[in-house]
Subunit: 420 residues, 2 copies
């Protein structure tokens, strides 16, 4: 127990210092489930010790979201109050470091009226969007996991409750590169060095398009954007130098194993098959495929959860377009753990994946010279959703094609096919 407490404190420190990299005098916000109050305290302490000027903890509780969905009118669900706006204005002005802890029951939102939620989101989103755009890429954020009893039971259905919880915490610590007897900070430094080498190679190739093939049926081509780079691992805060007087390196996902880019909007053809279940809005979509034409999802089917998949792909006009292509070796620690987490943060890192919805504007060369609308026209998709789903396996091959028709192997049987 004492050992667990120590690991929890180390993990909180890792999230605060290596994840979000809290700067002296910076406000910090933590979004976390109410039943994680013990971990919330560790994170708050770590943030203050790193020099945070204030730490705000927003507790949430998944069953309350279900009740709000059930009883509130769409108008009430959609409401952006004067208070909400004042908070958004504060965030735009003060750019707090944001820590989001994911721990929810993957099946916890079953029974939610999705159509109602979707209507509310469609009303809320345009009101909130200008604030989000103003903050884009200007603040550090991190998403990390925390084990909860319901999530643990989903991941380890055959273990007794306490053992399942301990096993999930253990998996979280290990996949966050906190193996016993090693220095987590050094592990992350090494990890980021490897990211940089692969990323630089990909950026130097200037591929025109990628071709994905697997025996399961995936046969898919996606065109890259000549002005959009590949990125992976930690990031430098773009707004950093002006605001803080120095560069801030942070790791927005813990764990992370992916190198990703935003492809050219409107240029993708063929069919991809999911290789892992997708948990979306608390519901599971399993064994699905999506066919793209002119970059847009035009046909899809799912063995289960097809209604949620419909909602997702039709969430708005651009939800059917691709926002991300990501490369993850099948040998990543998460894949090797053999654990299906039922949580995108972890499962996406076991596998190559695609995201439907918004792309990443800050991957675009000189992105800050353009408005979000201009970048959309330049080929960076924009949508209220961004949902990753996994298509990687130890059978996936990927080739890169250059403008002059040269074919270069990128992945063979799920692993990098080049040396760096």
């Amino acid at each position: 127990m004492e050992n667990f407490e120590k690991r929890l404190e180390d993990y909180a420190k890792l999230i605060v210092e290596v994840g979000v990299n809290v700067q002296k005098g910076q406000p910090v916000e933590i979004r976390i489930a109410a039943d994680q109050y013990v971990f919330a305290e560790k994170l708050t302490k770590a943030a203050y010790e790193a020099g945070a000027s204030s730490v705000r903890v927003d507790f949430n509780h998944q069953p309350l979201s279900l009740l709000h969905n059930q009883y509130k009118t769409v108008e009430k669900l959609a409401e952006v109050s004067a208070e909400d706006k004042a908070r958004l204005e504060y965030s735009v002005e003060n750019l707090p470091a944001m820590i989001a802890i994911t721990s929810a029951d993957p099946d916890g939102l079953k029974g939610m009226d999705m159509a109602k939620q979707q209507k509310a989101s469609a009303i809320r989103y345009p009101i909130i969007k200008p604030y989000i755009d103003k903050m884009e890429s200007k603040y550090q954020w991190v998403i990390a996991g925390a084990a909860s009893p319901a999530w643990a039971q989903k991941v380890f259905p055959d273990l007794p409750a306490e053992e399942a919880l301990a096993a999930l915490w253990d998996a979280i610590f290990k996949t966050s590169r906190m193996e016993a007897g090693t220095d987590p900070v050094k592990n992350w430094d090494k990890h980021n060095a490897s990211f940089k080498a692969h990323m630089d190679w990909l950026n130097e190739q200037h591929f025109d398009y990628l071709h994905y093939k697997s025996p399961k049926g995936t046969d898919f081509k996606a065109w890259l954007h000549p002005k959009v780079k590949w990125l992976g691992g930690g990031e430098k805060l773009h707004g950093g130098p002006e605001r803080l007087g120095h560069e801030v390196f942070y790791n927005p996902n813990m764990p992370t194993e992916e190198i990703f880019t935003t492809p050219m909007k409107g240029k993708a053809e063929g069919t991809v098959y999911s290789t892992k279940p997708l948990s979306y809005m608390g519901q599971l979509i399993e064994n699905f495929s999506i066919t793209f034409k002119d970059g847009k999802a035009v046909e899809w089917q799912a063995e289960s959860g097809s209604e949620v998949l419909d909602k997702m792909i039709t969430m708005d006009e651009n939800a059917a377009y691709i926002g991300e292509l990501a490369l993850v070796p099948d040998s990543s620690p998460i894949s090797q753990s053999g654990i299906l987490f039922y949580n995108t943060l972890y499962d996406e890192n076991a596998s190559c994946h695609i995201a439907l919805g918004a792309g990443f504007p800050d991957l675009y060369e000189d992105y800050d010279k353009y408005s979000r609308e201009e970048l959309e026209k330049l080929g960076i998709n924009d949508s209220m959703i961004h949902v990753d789903f996994m298509i990687g396996s130890n059978e996936l091959d990927i080739d890169g094609y250059t403008k002059d028709g040269k074919c270069v192997p990128i992945f063979r049987k799920g692993e990098w096919a080049f040396e760096v």
Copy 2:
């Protein structure tokens, strides 16, 4: 366990329907500790079922308050943000029903820098005050308890953790008049009828002053205000008819056993001895006495916690004046339970008590014709604190004296000395 869940649901329903009496279409706010997320869900469901238009749950966590106190500057602690103001404005306009659940560890704020907290409060208070004044008596509110492990262990130090928790929940249910096999709603109706009879009698006597005596040393006179009435049990919402179109009866404290008034500011003489420990800002003050002259505390001493008592009485200029006199028979269920709860909501109801600090403006005849400042000049004390402390016991006698010198026994040996 199933039985406990049912009792918890009944209790939530009692708080929502009899306590705060949520009206159809009314917004509801719930303040509750993060570790009470299960109870928060029951309360939220009950509020929606009673017709709430929206339910907002603000989770708090006591250890975070300690960290904020330790690490934030006074300025940060005192800050009333644009967001806070927008929320206060919303409350003034929409008058949500407020449910506050108390469950904190009575010793949980030990080590807090009180001076720092006090400085911050002194800056915050005048900014928030105008909003509070505007809402005064216009919305329903309730404070009720919920058992937490730390609180339970404090109350039942000799029981194992789980038994202590169960025992405290049981005591909470029983003192809230939820005895098994009875109808809690009918119990509260009967209770309120008894309150009304004693209250009417007290109001009809028009006493000039009360004289408290006990063998322990209490010898104390407090003058009543001719325009201020006695009140007890549930209340009718004063702003009700205009706002809701009908009268709303609600019970601001669950449990409640007291009939109380606000005495005339500046007219009290003599010494009172505490008969139970006072838990203030998470710290305990034990075996203390306070001597009044011209209505003001001029001397005080405590066997323990005297530093906190100093802070409390000197919190602001009027913290040394009396805001409340309350009568509670020693035979109240809480006293009879023999349990010391280390929580004012419960312990005050085992005993006659006095409050230092703010009085109750709405007990004043035609109070809504006056500003708070005018009522202060008319003898209703105003302060940023309102702290009850207990002076009752089975040895306490109280006499009422009328203007023409007639002496009428009110309490003998801690019980009502008149028939209604």
